[in-house]
């Protein structure tokens, strides 16, 4: 039972960083959703704001780490000209070609939406701090951007998992 270097990087990219972003989303969404003055106690606000600031900042960093490792470490192996590269194997089989022509082509581009939006959300959460609780329009906009960031990451993650199943990077 062992992993090659390429498999290890794939695990770090997808099951480590990518999964961490997707799993942390629920906590961040709940934090933003319930950050309303009518729900807040002094203790709740004191406990929640630093957690939300740190959580969204970590999610933004993780999102960047995910797309950068995917683009600059794993993607070159995927698209190598060799006949044994995952891209070559998928395109050589008409029943699997769409995993590249649709799946990978969308995944590799839409993934960048996630860290860009996650960074904006983290910045605004940190900028407003406790005052975010009395800025309902800003909070709702952040929730929308957060959901879009999650959706983009989910598209990338789901296609990544299926593509790696159809043609593993080994």
């Amino acid at each position: 039972m062992s992993l090659t270097d390429r498999e290890l990087w794939t695990v770090i990219h997808g099951m480590g960083l990518g999964a961490l972003f997707l799993l942390a989303f629920a906590g961040g969404l709940a934090g933003l959703w319930s950050l309303r003055p009518e729900f807040m106690t002094v203790g709740g606000l004191r406990e929640r704001i630093p957690r939300l600031e740190i959580g969204t900042a970590v999610m933004a960093v993780v999102a960047w780490a995910t797309v950068l490792t995917g683009t600059y470490v794993i993607y070159p192996w995927y698209r190598a000209a060799a006949q044994t590269s995952p891209k070559s194997l998928l395109l050589a089989d008409p029943t699997k070609a769409a995993w590249h022509t649709f799946g990978m082509e969308w995944k590799e581009h839409v993934a960048f939406i996630a860290p860009i939006l996650a960074t904006a959300v983290a910045f605004v959460v940190i900028y407003y701090g406790p005052q975010l609780a009395r800025e309902p329009r800003v909070r709702k906009l952040l929730i929308t951007l957060f959901v879009i960031a999650f959706s983009a990451a989910a598209v990338a993650g789901i296609f990544g998992a299926f593509i790696n199943k159809a043609a593993p990077t080994i």
Binding site: R46, T71, Y72, T101, F102, H109, F112, A120, Y127, E135
Partner: protein
């Protein structure tokens, strides 16, 4: 004794959060700058993806990192535009109150167009 210490600690730390909550509202400019810049970054990602699909010369020219190919240029251009837009908007809006509703609408339209531009069924229309 422990309760007294705890009450004292809360009395010192908790008001800081209430002060933060009820402090004079911060100008919305810096937040609006970050949000709109993100929309611009997403839009540019979709735009360069669609242009690269239709113009092979452009696609080849933006292969900044050879093993990564054109994706390196698309992402670099989108990220650079995003950061420059954020910096410029921040400098212009940092002390202003900007209508966050309008910025939000503009951002969501830009993000939607950006996602559309990255969608293969859409950008394949431009493939020569």
């Amino acid at each position: 004794m422990t309760q007294i210490v705890e009450r004292t600690r809360l009395a010192v730390t908790v008001p800081a959060y209430w002060d933060g909550l009820y402090a004079p509202t911060k100008p919305s400019g810096p937040a609006a700058a970050a949000i709109l810049a993100a929309g611009i970054g997403c839009f540019v990602m979709g735009l360069v993806t669609s242009i690269a699909a239709g113009v092979s010369g452009f696609s080849n020219a933006i292969a900044f990192v050879n093993p990564v190919g054109p994706l390196s240029g698309k992402s670099d251009i989108a990220i650079a535009t995003y950061l420059v837009a954020w910096l410029v908007l921040y400098l212009v809006w940092r002390k202003k109150d900007i209508n966050i509703g309008r910025v939000g609408t503009a951002t969501l339209i830009l993000v939607a167009l950006g996602i559309l531009g990255t969608f293969p069924t859409f950008f394949d229309v431009f493939v020569g």
